[in-house]
C-alpha cells in the first residue's frame, strides 16, 4: 500500500517545472509501477500508465489526467552576482520577496528572492509592490562564482518544505496539482484488486500550466472513450468567497459547463450520491481552466469531465489542501470505474 501522504510529501519536494517534469515523473512512475500493467513517457514528457481492464477486447478506455508540472521561475539575467527572473506559470510578484528558491544551474543552488529598497528603484510611492523585473535572487555566492554557475534560462523552483497542519491539512508549494496525482494514485490503489471492465489510463500530464501540452497529446495517443481532468479548484478562504469557491475539506467539485458532458456528469454524480461523497457543482460559464479544455477537442472529440479538489491560496507557495478531499476524489473515481458497464458509451445521453 502506498502511504499517500508520504508519497505526496516526497513529490512536493521534487522539482518539475513545466517541460522539465523529470524528477516528479520518475517519482510518480515508481509509485505507479506496481499498480499498472505498462507505462510510457510521451514525446513531451507526460507519463502514460495503463491498468488493463478485465473485459474482452477491444475494451473501452477511460483516461484520468492530473498534471504534474509546477509553476516556478526562470533566470533572465545575471548582474554582479544577482539574478533577475521571469515566471513559469501565473505568479503574483507580490508573493515573492522573502522566499527561498532553488536555482537549477550547473548544480542546484539555494537562493533567496528579495526586493531592492525604494531608494534604488525608479521614483515611486513608497511601499508599493515591486514589479517582478526589479526583484532579484541572491545566491550568497560571489559575482564570479555566480557567473560561472548560472546562465540565462536556468529554472528556479520554490524550496519551502511542505508543512502539516492539524487534521491532515497539508500546506506548501506545488500542491497544484500534485494533490490530483495523489488522488489518481488513491484510485489505482483502490482498483488494484477490482475486476473492472474498462482499461484505465492514468496520466500525469506535462506542461498544463503553460500550454496544456499534456492535455492535448495524451488523449491523442490513448484515444479514450472517457477522459477526466483531475485538478485543484479554489477553496474558500481569505480573499476567496464567491460562487467560484468551495469549502476546504468538505468534498470535491464536479464541473458544469461546456467542457463537461452532462451524461458523464450525471453518472459520476449518481455514484457520489450513492456513496455519500460530498460533491459541489462547479460552474464553468466560459470553460474549464484545466486539461479538460484541451482533452475535449482532441482528434474527433472526447467525452470529458472535471473533478476539482478545493485548495486555498492557489499559485502561492503556501497552498493548502485537505487529505480528506484527495481521498474522496480517488475513491469517487475508483468507485465509478469499478461499476462502469461495458456499454456505457452506447447508453450515454446528451439529454434526459
Amino acid at each position: 500500500m502506498t502511504d499517500i501522504k508520504q508519497f505526496l510529501n516526497e513529490l512536493l519536494s521534487l522539482p518539475g517545472l513545466s517541460a522539465y517534469e523529470g524528477p516528479a515523473r520518475e517519482h510518480i512512475a515508481s509509485a505507479w509501477k506496481p499498480l499498472v500493467d505498462e507505462m510510457q513517457v510521451s514525446p513531451i514528457g507526460s507519463l502514460h500508465a495503463l491498468k488493463k481492464g478485465y473485459g474482452s477486447e477491444p475494451r473501452p478506455r477511460i483516461l484520468l489526467a492530473a498534471h504534474m508540472d509546477a509553476i516556478g521561475l526562470m533566470v533572465t539575467g545575471v548582474t554582479d552576482g544577482f539574478l533577475s527572473f521571469t515566471e513559469i506559470g501565473g505568479i503574483d510578484p507580490r508573493l515573492l520577496p522573502g522566499l527561498r528558491v532553488t536555482v537549477h544551474a550547473k548544480r542546484d543552488l539555494p537562493g533567496v528572492i528579495v526586493m531592492p529598497r525604494d531608494a534604488l528603484l525608479p521614483e515611486r510611492k513608497s511601499e508599493t509592490p515591486v514589479e517582478m523585473k526589479y526583484l532579484f535572487i541572491d545566491l550568497g555566492l560571489s559575482a564570479a562564482e555566480t557567473a560561472e554557475l548560472v546562465q540565462i534560462g536556468d529554472l528556479v523552483s520554490f524550496t519551502q518544505e511542505p508543512m502539516e497542519l492539524p487534521n491532515d491539512i497539508i500546506t506548501g508549494h506545488s500542491l497544484d496539482n500534485r494533490v490530483s496525482v495523489a488522488a489518481v494514485t488513491v484510485c489505482l490503489e483502490e482498483l488494484h484488486n477490482v475486476q473492472h471492465t474498462w482499461d484505465v489510463w492514468a496520466v500525469a500530464t506535462a506542461q498544463e500550466e503553460e500550454t496544456l501540452g499534456g492535455g492535448f497529446t495524451a488523449p491523442f495517443a490513448i484515444r479514450p472513450d472517457l477522459a477526466v481532468a483531475i485538478d485543484v479548484t479554489i477553496a474558500k478562504g481569505p480573499g476567496a468567497s464567491d460562487w467560484r469557491t468551495f469549502p476546504l475539506g468538505k468534498g470535491v467539485s464536479l464541473g458544469i459547463g461546456s467542457n463537461v458532458h452532462p451524461g458523464f456528469f450525471k453518472a459520476v454524480k449518481e455514484v457520489a450520491d450513492k456513496l455519500d461523497i460530498p460533491v459541489h457543482n462547479e460552474l464553468m460559464p466560459r470553460g474549464s481552466g484545466t486539461d479538460a479544455l484541451a482533452m475535449q477537442i482532441v482528434a474527433d472529440g472526447i467525452t470529458t469531465l472535471v473533478i476539482g479538489i478545493p485548495l486555498r491560496y492557489m499559485h502561492t507557495p503556501v497552498e493548502m489542501v485537505a487529505m480528506k478531499d484527495i481521498q474522496r476524489a480517488g475513491h469517487l473515481l475508483a468507485s465509478f470505474i469499478a461499476t462502469l458497464p461495458v456499454d456505457f458509451m452506447q447508453n450515454l445521453k446528451w439529454d434526459d
Binding site: V112, A119, M163, Y313, T316
Partner: protein, 357 residues
C-alpha cells in the same frame, strides 16, 4: 576555565549556536526560548549572572587587575515579528507587526506561532480571482490572515507572537536566517564572555525590547553603571545594483567589507574617543572595517549613552542584506572580523581612554 590569552574564533561551535538561536523565537520581552539557550551557554564562564525585571540577562566577568575599566557590551535577544490580535472562524487570525517589518514580505510565507511553534501560513488571494489592476496595489495587513488550518484554531490565541518559519542555513560563506538581527551579536557576546580579556571588567547585557523602544538596554545600563559601552548589532547592507545601473549611493553597508562601525545614526552620535581607538586597532592589526553610512536606524546605544550621567558608547554591527525579512543574509568573514575587532579593541583598551580630549 579557558585560558584568558586565547583569541576567540567563529567556528563550527559558534555557527551551530547561531543556528540554534536564529531558529529560536523571541519578540520584545517574550524571549524565554532565546534566554534559556544563552544562559545555558554562558553560565560556565561568568562570575555572576542574573535576569532583571525586563528579562535582560546581565552577566559579568571580573578583571584580573585592580582599577580596570568597566565595559558594558550589549546585544539584543529580541527579533521582529507579529502578534495575533483577533480570532476569526476556522483557524484564521488577524495580525499586527511588531518591529519594523515591511508588510510586502508577508504574503505567501510559512510562519510559526507561539512557544510551541505551531505551523501556519500567511496566504494570499489566488491570481485566478484577481482583477487586472489588483497587482499594482500592495496587500495591506488588514487583508492578510494567519491561517493555521480549519481545525487548528484552538492552538492559537490573541496575544501569541508569530515568526517567519525560515530555518537557518549556511551557503558557502553566507549565513541565512530569520533572526540574524541580532542573534549574531548574541553569539559574538557569548563568545567574548568565554574569552574575556583580563584587563577589563566585562559587563555583558543580553537585552530585550530593542526592536521597539531600546527599553531593555536602558535599564541594563542603569544596573551595570559602566564606564563605557560597545553595542554589538546587525545592520542592513543594501549593496546591490541600482535598477538602471547607476552608482548605488544608498548601500548603508556592504557585505565582505568588514564590521560596520557607527559614527552617527538616528539615536546616537558615537563617542569620538572610542571611534578613534577602534579605527587605530583595525588599521594596526590589519582588520578590515567599514563605516556605516550615517543615517536612519539605531541600536541599543541610543538608550545606553543617555543613562545616568552619560555613558560613552559606540556600535559595531555585522552587515546583513534583507534585514527584517524572512531571509537575512550575512557573511562569515564580516562576523569573524567583528569578533576580532571587538576583542582586540578590548584587550588593547587604554586605561586613560576617557581622560583624552
Amino acid at each position: 576555565m579557558t585560558a584568558k590569552t586565547l583569541s576567540p574564533v567563529i567556528d563550527k561551535e559558534q555557527i551551530a549556536l547561531l543556528e540554534q538561536l536564529s531558529n529560536a523565537c523571541g519578540i520584545l520581552s517574550d524571549v524565554g526560548e532565546v534566554r534559556k539557550i544563552v544562559l545555558e551557554k554562558i553560565q560556565p564562564y561568568c562570575d555572576s549572572v542574573k535576569v532583571d525585571a525586563l528579562g535582560n540577562i546581565l552577566a559579568t566577568r571580573k578583571a584580573q587587575q585592580p582599577g580596570a575599566l568597566r565595559v558594558m557590551l550589549a546585544a539584543h535577544m529580541d527579533e521582529v515579528g507579529f502578534m495575533v490580535v483577533e480570532s476569526e472562524e476556522g483557524g484564521l487570525f488577524k495580525l499586527v507587526t511588531v518591529g519594523g517589518i515591511d508588510v510586502r514580505y508577508l504574503p505567501g510565507k510559512p510562519v510559526l506561532v507561539g512557544k510551541d511553534h505551531v505551523p501556519g501560513v500567511i496566504g494570499a488571494k489566488p491570481i485566478h480571482l484577481m482583477k487586472s489592476d489588483e497587482m499594482q496595489t500592495a496587500m495591506d495587513l488588514d487583508g492578510l490572515r494567519l491561517d493555521v488550518g480549519p481545525d487548528g484554531g484552538d492552538k492559537v490565541k490573541p496575544g501569541d507572537h508569530v515568526y517567519f518559519a525560515t530555518r537557518f542555513q549556511q551557503v558557502g560563506s553566507s549565513l541565512v536566517g530569520k533572526a540574524l538581527d541580532d542573534r549574531i551579536g548574541v553569539v559574538t557576546l557569548a563568545t567574548l564572555l568565554q574569552y574575556a580579556p583580563a584587563n577589563i571588567e566585562l559587563l555583558a547585557a543580553f537585552t530585550t525590547q530593542e526592536e521597539i523602544g531600546l527599553r531593555g538596554a536602558r535599564v541594563a545600563a542603569y544596573g551595570f553603571d559602566p564606564d563605557l559601552a560597545i553595542v554589538l548589532d546587525s545592520t542592513p547592507a543594501h549593496d546591490y545594483p541600482s535598477y538602471d545601473g547607476s552608482e548605488n549611493r544608498y548601500f548603508n553597508t556592504r557585505l565582505d567589507a568588514g564590521p560596520a562601525i557607527y559614527v552617527a545614526d538616528t539615536g546616537t552620535i558615537s563617542d569620538p574617543r572610542l571611534l578613534q581607538h577602534l579605527f587605530r586597532v583595525a588599521v594596526e592589526n590589519g582588520i578590515p572595517y567599514q563605516i556605516r553610512q550615517p543615517g536612519p536606524g539605531g541600536t541599543d546605544a541610543g538608550s545606553i549613552h543617555k543613562q545616568r550621567s552619560g555613558i560613552p558608547s559606540v556600535s559595531i554591527s555585522v552587515p546583513g542584506r534583507y534585514a527584517h525579512s524572512p531571509v537575512m543574509v550575512s557573511r562569515l568573514s564580516d562576523w569573524r572580523n567583528s569578533l576580532t575587532l571587538v576583542h582586540t579593541a578590548l584587550t588593547t583598551l587604554p586605561q586613560d581612554i576617557l581622560q583624552r580630549a
